[in-house]
C-alpha cells in the first residue's frame, strides 16, 4: 500500500474511480458489441440500397453504355463487374444478417430477382474499429459478393471489400471518461467532506487542546464512527482537565500553605543577633519564597483570563525602568516603538519583569532594546552577565533549572521566571528565545506580533 494516496479524499477517489472505470469498461464492451451489430446492419441496408440503385440504373441503359457506367461505379469499397461467371450459391442461407441483406435487395429489386449472396470472409463482429475501418487505396479481399442478373440476363457482380466506414468513437469515449472522472471527483469531494468534516473538527480540537485544556467540548456529530471518536475525545479532555485541575489545586494549596511557615521563619530570623547567620537564613528563605510565589504565578498563568487591550509598550518599558530605578537598579532603554500592541497588560508586565529580573540578577544592569517591524515588535533584554553554555540555552526554560554553579549557586537559579515569560509570549502569539551575545552576556529576545 506504499503507493496508496495519503489523504482519505485521495483514497476514496481512487476506489470510486477504479470501480466506476471497471464497470464503465464492461458496459462499454457490451454496448460496443451491440452497436457494432446495429451499425453493421444499418451499413448493410445502405449497401443493399446502393446495389439495387446500380442494378436499376444498369437495367435502364443500353448494354453499350453499361460498361462506361460500371467504370464510374467501380470504386472502393464496392467493385462492380459485368464479366463474372455465375456464383455457386452456398448451402446455408440462414445467417440472420445475410438473409436480411438479401431480403432488402429482393424488396427493392423485386421478389423474383435471382440474387446470389456469398460470404467470402468472416464478418467483423464486435471487433470495434478494426473490421470496419475504411481500407484506403485498393479493394483488398472481398468481404462478400453479390450477383444480380439484369433483365437481359447479364450478370452484375458486386464485390464488397468492407462494410461502410463508421464514424470514429475515440473522441466520444474520451469525453465519456472525462465526464465520469469529473463526476467521481465531485462526488468524492462531497462524500469526503461529509465524512471527514467532523474528523477535521476532531483534529483541530486535539491540536488546540494544548493551548487550552478547558476549551468547550466538540460537537458529537457526523458518521457513527466519528461520533464515537468525538465522544471519547470529549471524555478524555474532561479527564485530562480534571486531573490537571487536581494537580494545580494540590500545588497551589501547598505553595500557599508554605507561606505561613516561611513567614514564621522570617520573623524568627529577624530576631537573630548574629548578623552572618541571619543573612544566610535570609538567603535561603528568599529562595524558598521565590519558589512559592513563582509556582503560584505559574499556576495562575494557566487560568489567566485577562482581556487583550491595546498597550503602549513604550510606556510599559519606561514605567518598569522607573520601578527599577526606585529600587536602585539600572535599566537602560534603546530604540522606540510607537504603535500600540494588542496584549494583556498585566501579563506582559510580568513577562518583562521576569526577563529584567534575570538580567539584573546575573549582570549588573539590564538593557531593553526595542525594534519595530511592519508586523511585529522585537524586544531584547540584554545583560552583561556570564551567559549560559550554548547546550543549555533551551533548558533554561525548564522549571527550576540550575545551570553551572557559577551562574546559579548563589543566585537561586532561574526558577520559573523564564518559563512564565515564555508562556506569556506564546499566549500572545509570540516567542521568547535566549542567546549568548558575542560581546558577552545573555540576550532574551521577545518577538510579539502586531494584531492579525
Amino acid at each position: 500500500m506504499r503507493l496508496a494516496p495519503k489523504s482519505l479524499f485521495g483514497r476514496l477517489v481512487l476506489v470510486l474511480l477504479a470501480g466506476l472505470v471497471l464497470s464503465q469498461l464492461a458496459t462499454l464492451y457490451i454496448n460496443q458489441t451491440e452497436r457494432d451489430r446495429l451499425l453493421y446492419r444499418a451499413g448493410g441496408m445502405r449497401l443493399a440500397q446502393q446495389i439495387s440503385d446500380i442494378v436499376k440504373l444498369l437495367d435502364s441503359l443500353p448494354s453499350a453504355e453499361r460498361r462506361r457506367v460500371v467504370a464510374v461505379f467501380n470504386r472502393p469499397p464496392l467493385a462492380v463487374s459485368l464479366d463474372r461467371p455465375p456464383l455457386d450459391l452456398p448451402a446455408d442461407e440462414d445467417d440472420a444478417d445475410f438473409s436480411m441483406f438479401a431480403s432488402v435487395l429482393r424488396y427493392t429489386l423485386g421478389e423474383d430477382a435471382k440474387i446470389a449472396v456469398v460470404e467470402r470472409a468472416h464478418r467483423p463482429h464486435g471487433h470495434g474499429e478494426r473490421g470496419f475501418g475504411p481500407r484506403r487505396g485498393g479493394f483488398g479481399p472481398p468481404a462478400f459478393t453479390v450477383q444480380v442478373p439484369l433483365q437481359d440476363g447479364t450478370l452484375v457482380t458486386f464485390d464488397s471489400s468492407v462494410l461502410p466506414p463508421v464514424a470514429t468513437t475515440t473522441l466520444r469515449l474520451a469525453l465519456t471518461l472525462a465526464v465520469l472522472l469529473a463526476t467521481v471527483i465531485v462526488l468524492s469531494l462531497i462524500a469526503v467532506r461529509w465524512v471527514t468534516g467532523p474528523l477535521s473538527v476532531l483534529a483541530d480540537a486535539a491540536e488546540k487542546l494544548g493551548e487550552n485544556i478547558n476549551r468547550p467540548p466538540i460537537p458529537e456529530a457526523g458518521p457513527a464512527e466519528v461520533q464515537r471518536a468525538a465522544r471519547s475525545f470529549n471524555a478524555m479532555q474532561q479527564r485530562l482537565a480534571h486531573s490537571m485541575a487536581e494537580r494545580s489545586r494540590v500545588l497551589t494549596a501547598m505553595s500557599h500553605d508554605l507561606k505561613t511557615p516561611i513567614t514564621r521563619m522570617r520573623l524568627r530570623t529577624d530576631m537573630l543577633e548574629d548578623e552572618a547567620v541571619r543573612e544566610k537564613f535570609d538567603r535561603d528563605l528568599a529562595e524558598m519564597e521565590q519558589m512559592v510565589t513563582q509556582t503560584l504565578e505559574f499556576m495562575r498563568d494557566a487560568t489567566d483570563t485577562e482581556p487583550v487591550k491595546r498597550l503602549d509598550l513604550m510606556a510599559l518599558v519606561e514605567s518598569l525602568q522607573a520601578d527599577y530605578e526606585d529600587m536602585a537598579k539600572e535599566v537602560r532603554i534603546m530604540g522606540r516603538v510607537s504603535r500600540p500592541l494588542a496584549a494583556r497588560p498585566v501579563a506582559m508586565r510580568r513577562c518583562l519583569t521576569n526577563l529584567v529580573d534575570n538580567a539584573i540578577r546575573y549582570g549588573a544592569r539590564a538593557t531593553i532594546d526595542l525594534a519595530e517591524e511592519a508586523d511585529r515588535v522585537i524586544l531584547r533584554v540584554l545583560d552583561d552577565g556570564p551567559g549560559i553554555p550554548e547546550a543549555q540555552l533551551e533548558r533554561a526554560f525548564e522549571p527550576f533549572y540550575r545551570g553551572e554553579a557559577s551562574r546559579s549557586r548563589e543566585t537561586g537559579g532561574f526558577g520559573l521566571g523564564l518559563g512564565i515569560a515564555r508562556n506569556i509570549a506564546r499566549a500572545h502569539g509570540g516567542e521568547l528565545t535566549l542567546k549568548n551575545r558575542p560581546e558577552g552576556g545573555l540576550a532574551a529576545t521577545l518577538t510579539l506580533p502586531h494584531a492579525a
Binding site: R266, A322, M327, P345
Partner: protein
C-alpha cells in the same frame, strides 16, 4: 525610642502573632495581639490603638469585611497582611480602606518599615486612599484602572505606570483641587530601598505629566503651585 504607639496585630497564627508582638515591642512599640475579629473589637474597646495589622484570612469574619466595618467607625490606619500576593487582593485591600498591604511571606523588618511609613503618612495627611470602592477613576479624558494599576487613554490605549507614579496619581486624584505639599506627597511614596527626596517627587510629577501628555509649556492636569506643591486641576469621576 520616641514612640510608644500602640499596634494591634490580628492574625490567626499564634506563632506569627507572638513573633510580631515581640519584634514590635523590641522596636519600641506597644503591641497587643489577638486571633480573630471578635477579639479585635474587644481590644479596640479597651483602649486607644494607633495602627492595626490585619490578616486577610481569618476564621469567622475575614480581614476584608473587618476592614470595611472598621473604616465605617474610625480612621485608624490599617496594614493588611495577605497570603495570596495577587495584585487583585492587594488592590481590593486598599479599596476596602487599608492604608497599606504586605504580602506573606514578609520579614519583620519589612513590616516595621511599613508601620513607620503608614504612621508618618497618617500624621502628615490624615486621609486614606479610600476611593469609595472605585475600580476606575476618570479625569481629563483619562481613566485610571485601579485594579490593574494602569491608565487608559481616551482612545482605549493602555498606558502602564510605575508603582510610584500610580501612588502619586492616586493621591492626587483622591484630593482634586487641593494643593498637596511635597512633604505630603512624599509620605505616600513608598521607595523600598531609599527614602524619596523632594527632587524625586518633582521627577515623578514630570514623568506623570509626560504620560498624561501634560508636559507642554503650561501643564493643565497637574499644576505646580509655586512654593507650595502640586494640585490636580481637573474634574474627577469615581466609578465602581
Amino acid at each position: 525610642m520616641e514612640t510608644s504607639d500602640h499596634v494591634l496585630v490580628v492574625d490567626d497564627d499564634a506563632e506569627i502573632r507572638r513573633l510580631l508582638g515581640d519584634y514590635l515591642r523590641k522596636n519600641g512599640y506597644r503591641a497587643t495581639t489577638v486571633g480573630d475579629g471578635n477579639a479585635m473589637w474587644a481590644a479596640l474597646a479597651r483602649g486607644k490603638v494607633d495602627l492595626i495589622v490585619l490578616d486577610l484570612m481569618l476564621p469567622g469574619q475575614d480581614g476584608l469585611s473587618l476592614c470595611r466595618k472598621l473604616r465605617a467607625e474610625s480612621d485608624t490606619p490599617v496594614i493588611m497582611l495577605t497570603a495570596r500576593g495577587e495584585e487583585t487582593d492587594r488592590v481590593v485591600g486598599l479599596e476596602m480602606g487599608a492604608d497599606d498591604y504586605l504580602a506573606k511571606p514578609f520579614s519583620a523588618r519589612e513590616l516595621l518599615a511599613r508601620v513607620k511609613s503608614v504612621l508618618r503618612r497618617y500624621r502628615a495627611l490624615p486621609m486614606h486612599l479610600r476611593a469609595d470602592d472605585a475600580t476606575s477613576i476618570r479625569f481629563a479624558g483619562w481613566t485610571l484602572d485601579v485594579r490593574s494599576r494602569h491608565l487608559v487613554s481616551a482612545d482605549g490605549v493602555v498606558t502602564p505606570l510605575s508603582g510610584a507614579e500610580f501612588q502619586l496619581l492616586r493621591v492626587l486624584l483622591s484630593h482634586p483641587g487641593q494643593v498637596l505639599s511635597r512633604d505630603q506627597l512624599m509620605s505616600f511614596a513608598k521607595g523600598r530601598e531609599s527614602e524619596p527626596f523632594e527632587r524625586t517627587i518633582d521627577l515623578r510629577v514630570s514623568r506623570l505629566r509626560q504620560r498624561l501628555g501634560d508636559d507642554g509649556g503650561e501643564p493643565r492636569i497637574i499644576k505646580t503651585v509655586r512654593g507650595q506643591g502640586y494640585v490636580l486641576a481637573a474634574p474627577v469621576t469615581m466609578e465602581r
